[in-house]
């Protein structure tokens, strides 16, 4: 061990090069994790907070016809449930007149909410950056993009909305803009409008019906249990209840592929570090031929020589993994403390994934040891007399 360490430190430049290669490999994986897993988790966080809750309930065949009070009451009796709220969706054409110009936008998604329930069950109201959330049945919140596209509509302006009801008849209403919703990332309501659920029910003639019910839990890990409990409680209804992972699956699948691809790039970086170690170990073996011959001459067996060079690989692996993990954790801590964002995007949801951190460090260590195998084997094949003659 001592000899292995001293042989290694006698070639400081090579040793530092190998350790740096491992450090950078690990750092790449950590940075990728912080950025891409952070984006993924932020997206999940926002999808959950704004759109799906911890559990998202719909009716497989039609609209939900059970009353809001019944369903909300049923959910809120469960200790793990924090709140529940009904939602109803449709789409609208909206026009606004400003500075002598008439602007019109088509196919704008509408979300009908009950502010009494929704402010407890979701964070949708927190996206309102100007004005107020839905304050009355004749007011609505415009997404920031919609407001801009309608000629920079401001809070207090009037807009005209056309919605097709359930019978295919155009319904026209006037609304005042109570607020503007704007949020970073793609999970908010910048391209939608929000109105009172009762207003929307009246317009599309869906009195007492909802499109979905979002449920917020105070114990998110209980989502599957609460979902199963709910489905078991209403066996005759065609309810579909999904956890956030299930309801947002289509949006998350793409993200996961991206993360897997980026992790592959990190692994390739780590493989490059392994090649660097092979090269450096070969250089060390080449430079220590005479010493290997001497040790063989005084009785060292092939396995003793093998152990020396494997231990060198282990030492490089330990030092590289420790340095890489330390630097990676430093970056993670920085990202978490500064609530890192990129060009105004959603703030990363940075977390310490200790199993993944340990796996990365172990992988680096394993690769370092594996990369030492061939040079170590080469060292054992040296004949003592040849090694001393040509070393």
């Amino acid at each position: 061990m001592r000899l292995a360490l001293r042989m290694l430190t006698s070639r400081k430049g090579s040793m530092i090069g190998a350790i740096l290669a491992i450090t950078v490999g690990i750092l790449v994986i950590h940075v990728n994790f912080v950025i891409f897993q952070g984006l993924y988790d932020a997206f999940v966080r926002d999808m959950k907070a704004y759109r799906f809750g911890d559990i998202y309930v719909t009716n497989e065949e039609d609209y939900i016809d059970k009353s809001d009070a019944l369903l909300v009451g049923w959910f809120e009796r469960i200790p793990q449930v924090s709140a529940a709220a009904p939602r109803l969706s449709s789409s609208a054409s909206i026009n606004a007149t400003g500075t002598g110009m008439r602007y019109e936008e088509f196919g704008i998604p509408i979300i009908g909410v009950d502010p009494r329930y929704d402010t407890r069950a979701s964070a949708m109201h927190e996206t309102v950056t100007q004005g107020q959330y839905v304050t009355s049945r004749s007011s609505m919140v415009l997404g920031a993009t919609v407001a801009r596209d309608l000629g920079d509509v401001q809070v207090g302006d009037n807009i005209r909305v056309k919605i097709v009801d359930r019978w295919g008849i155009d319904q026209f209403r006037r609304f005042s803009v109570s607020g503007i919703s704007e949020s970073a990332g793609g999970a908010g309501f910048d391209t939608s409008v929000i109105m009172h659920i009762e207003t929307l029910r009246d317009i599309i003639d869906r009195g007492g019906e909802s499109g979905s019910m979002i449920v917020r839990l105070n114990e998110p890990t209980a989502a599957a249990n609460v979902r199963d409990l709910f489905l078991a409680a209403f066996p005759a209804d065609d309810f579909k209840a999904e956890t956030i992972e299930e309801s947002a699956e289509s949006q998350l699948a793409g993200f996961r592929s991206g993360i897997a691809m980026i992790n592959m790039i990190g692994l390739f970086g780590m493989m490059s570090a392994a090649f660097a170690i092979v090269t450096i170990q070969m250089m060390i073996v080449g430079g220590k031929t005479r010493e290997i011959g001497i040790m063989r001459a005084i009785g060292a067996r092939r396995k003793d020589i093998l152990v020396i060079f494997i231990v060198q690989g282990m030492l490089m692996g330990v030092m590289g993994a420790a340095a890489g993990t330390a630097v990676g954790l430093g970056y993670t801590m920085y990202a978490k403390e500064t609530k890192m964002t990129f060009s105004g995007s959603v703030a990363l949801e940075v977390s310490y994934n200790w199993p993944a951190i340990a796996r990365t460090a172990l992988l680096a260590f394993g690769l370092s040891v594996a990369a030492s195998m061939y040079p170590s084997y080469r060292a054992t094949k040296l004949l003592p007399v040849e090694a001393m003659r040509y070393g």
Binding site: L3, R6, E291, R296, A297, G299, R301, V385
Partner: protein
């Protein structure tokens, strides 16, 4: 010969010639000799005569083409590689021309190394006592690359004795030293041989440096002759 530590008979070594068309060189031809325990013996010869090849064969660093080498009564020619290493570790000590101490270790760590390789089954001299005996006790904690050539060779002698070998094999041990250091090294080896009844087999091209020795074997054109025949 009574209590022979080394018995060589019919030893030949041919280099090359394994492949068709390759030129072969016969380095040793039918060498037979016996060395008694405690003998201080020189193998002399001119450059290329085969004396180092013979030493490598005795040191089990290279294998003979034909013939037999018995050390402490054990036939070594047929030993597998792993057992050869163990045999070297327990029965042979080496002193090389360039001392060949490991630069990464201190002087005393170099002397301890053969004992660590051998393991704990044999009663062995303390490294510090060996270094005291060769006059290196004041330098034992210095790195091997921080001492002079003469000091390094003294430390190498201590290392050669550290495993309590049956034979110490020395290949041109004074070849890289100035005349004063060379004389001191030779005196040291002789006194060690006397005090420890240690067998020394020394290859040299300069027999006159060594003065009186127990025995001289000359090698010429790969053949061994008793006495000085150069």
């Amino acid at each position: 010969m009574a209590d022979a530590v080394l018995e060589i008979s019919g030893l030949s070594k041919v280099y090359g010639g394994g492949k068709p068309g390759a030129v072969s060189t016969q380095a040793l031809r039918d060498v037979s000799l016996t060395v008694a325990r405690g003998e201080f013996m020189l193998i002399v010869g001119s450059s290329g005569s085969g004396k180092s090849t013979l030493l490598n064969m005795i040191g089990l660093l290279d294998r003979p083409t034909t013939g037999s080498i018995r050390i402490d009564g054990v036939e070594t020619a047929s030993l597998p590689d792993g057992e050869l290493s163990s045999f070297r570790s327990s029965r042979l000590g080496f002193v090389f021309q360039f001392s060949n101490l490991l630069a990464e270790l201190t002087v005393i760590e170099n002397v301890e190394l053969p004992q660590k390789i051998l393991g704990g089954s044999k009663r062995l001299p303390l490294p510090s006592e060996l270094l005291a005996a060769v006059g290196m006790v004041d330098h034992m904690h210095k790195r091997a690359n921080a001492i002079s050539g003469g000091q390094a060779q003294r430390a190498a002698i201590a290392r050669g004795l550290a495993n309590g070998p049956s034979i110490v094999l020395a290949d041109e041990p004074t070849g890289n030293l100035d005349s004063k250091s060379a004389a001191a090294t030779i005196d040291l080896m002789k006194s060690m041989a006397r005090e420890l009844a240690q067998t020394f087999v020394i290859v040299t091209h300069d027999r006159h440096q060594f003065g009186d020795v127990d025995r001289i074997v000359s090698i010429k054109d790969g053949m061994a002759h008793e006495g000085e025949h150069l």
